[in-house]
């Protein structure tokens, strides 16, 4: 009876939280009010836990990787590495129909190996590629949509901020998530390239802009982009070589990009350092209270046994694994449309993770599947952050870019199902 009452209280509070979210209150305030209301109304937890949980949730060694990867991304977005990686993409796939569009996607793929953020990926590559694509006759909104959809790779290809958050929220190894993200990243890049190829086949721009392939040119591009490969090598090699933890790898990656951009290629000035640190601090400042209160919210829900009840209800429908995955994809797409994916991970994982376990998903496989599906929300209105970033760098209207991103959206959904039903592709390293 008590459980039922708590469930009813929890249901009312969750509905009120959704209303507060829709009327535009910041997410961390909504999470805080939800947690505090549940604590007061059910009496199942002590309010004094506010001080301990809000401290302990950020007093985390694994979480330190997040601001450091953000810092690395901030440095390289101002330097030369990004341009060289795009040049490599063009040298490798520029000879195919729609090649420059594919080069944009591969530029995003390579850049994602040093940056953990999708909007940074979109803004940095978009700034370089949208004018180039327009010069070659591409529709400008479509060019911006390529940068927006390619930017999704920023959170799939390691290092990834969302994988760090997922790892912390579910107790899954961040290192395993990083390595598991490589093949899905490649699959997404190929899916987006295929969508671009089909679009270019039916458009006038794709056929005329090919760059003839040259082995020497490709080798030259690889050499020029050598510094760009250093960061993923340091991160993945360091973690899997047993040299350091993901957090230490993040610090070494920051050191590496500092050395490259400040001392070797000298595209970043020492006088910019304060500005770089401040710019990078903004993202952490936005995410920190969401992380802290979502952990408190998850704790309160767990004490009230809400996730267990939802899992029970979900399994009682008797849906098989295929329909369950379809339902999860539909739910993630809806959530991804409304919430920024990092925030969404924190909000829904307390409920979704037990469902995934009930369905027999490996936590790493489930993490990659959930992150990939939620990331589609980066290119869907109304809160598609990559669309905003692409609109900012291209000057094109937000909705025009969203409309032109529909082929990429379809390709991403297909790849998400492939990821969901192909655990061996994700867990190949075990």
């Amino acid at each position: 009876m008590m459980d039922l009452t708590n469930m009813q209280v929890a249901s009312v509070v969750i509905v009120l939280m959704l209303i507060h979210l829709v009327i535009g209150l910041p997410l961390f305030i909504v999470l805080a009010m939800g947690s505090i209301s549940l604590i007061i109304l059910t009496g199942a937890y002590s309010l004094s836990s506010l001080s301990t949980t809000l401290f302990a949730s950020l007093d985390s060694w694994a979480l330190l990787a997040m601001p450091l990867f953000i810092l690395a991304g901030e440095i390289i977005s101002r330097g030369r590495i990004a341009r060289d990686l795009v040049g490599l993409g063009e040298a490798l796939v520029g000879w195919i129909k729609g090649g420059l569009g594919m080069a944009t996607i591969f530029g995003c793929f390579f850049f994602a190996g040093t940056s953990g953020s999708s909007s940074a990926d979109t803004a940095t590559i978009g700034k370089i590629m949208v004018p180039a694509l327009k010069d070659r006759g591409y529709d400008k909104s479509y060019a911006a949509s390529l940068a927006a959809s390619g930017g999704i790779l920023g959170v799939i290809v390691p290092p990834s901020l969302i994988f760090i958050i997922y790892g912390i929220a579910t107790g899954t190894s961040v290192g395993d998530l990083f390595i598991a993200g490589v093949i899905p990243g490649l699959l997404i890049a190929l899916g987006l390239c295929l969508a671009n190829y089909i679009v270019c086949s039916f458009s006038s721009w794709g056929a005329n802009e090919r760059t003839p392939f040259s082995g020497a040119g490709a080798l030259k591009a690889v050499w020029r982009a050598r510094y760009g490969f250093g960061a993923p090598f340091v991160i993945l090699g360091g973690i899997y070589g047993g040299f350091f933890t993901p957090t230490e790898a993040a610090a070494v990656a920051v050191f590496y990009v500092f050395v490259v951009e400040l001392l070797i290629v000298r595209e970043v000035e020492f006088s910019e350092l304060g500005e770089i640190f401040l710019a990078a601090s903004k993202t952490t400042g936005i995410l920190a209270p969401i992380i802290a209160f979502s952990i408190l919210f998850a704790e309160v829900l767990a004490i009230l046994r809400v996730p267990g009840a939802i899992v029970e209800a979900f399994t009682s429908f008797g849906t098989g694994p295929y329909l369950s995955v379809v339902l999860i994809v539909a739910m993630l797409l809806l959530v991804g449309c409304l919430l920024e994916p990092i925030a969404a991970i924190l909000v829904i994982m307390p409920i979704l993770f037990p469902i995934g376990q009930q369905l027999g998903f490996d936590p790493v496989h489930f993490g990659v599947f959930v992150v990939a599906t939620l990331s589609v929300g980066f290119i869907t209105p109304p809160v598609g952050i990559n669309l905003f970033a692409a609109a900012a760098v291209s000057g094109e209207p937000f909705m025009n870019i969203a409309y032109k991103a529909i082929p990429a959206f379809i390709a991403l959904i297909v790849v998400c199902f492939v990821i969901a039903f192909s655990p061996s592709l994700i867990l190949w390293f075990r």
């Binding site: 506010l50 809000l54 950020l58 601001p67 401040l278 601090s281 936005i286």
Partner: protein
Amino acid sequence: MQAAHFTNRFIRFVDGPLVQMVVVLAYAYFFLIILSEVFMRYFFQHSTNWGEMTARYAFVYFAYIAAAEAFRHDEHISIDLLPNKLGETGRKALETYGDFLCILISVAVIYYSLGLMEIQQRANIRMHALPVNMSWAQLALPLGWGLMIIRIMQRVQRRFFPKPTPNVEFAT
């Protein structure tokens, strides 16, 4: 008159550059300490037991102060579809309601954190790797959320009295 001028300049400094300096220093501290631990371990086979701990505590300070700073530019994540459809009065009312809730939350966090700090002081609970009272680490919460209240009050002031106020922008 001179005293008022000095006070005004001091408030501006504390409000802007000082907070930014704390953010940058805390960020640089945990980056450098983690990096130095890696180098020390591999080149000198030595690592400290306080390095990791202080890096984590610096991050807690950094994160909550940066969270307060995000209010300067209204950067906290929210769904602004409905507020954008409302008129100015409706939007202001919703924003003020959100600010009111945030102040309530901040007061609760500060109240319970100060309570915990008092217990830590009385029981002489120390950090595991340094002979320093744990309340100095816990201070990050009252400090960060106190700054949050100040930033919200400034936001309310900007909303209803949009005159130029002593407000130093982020350097970006």
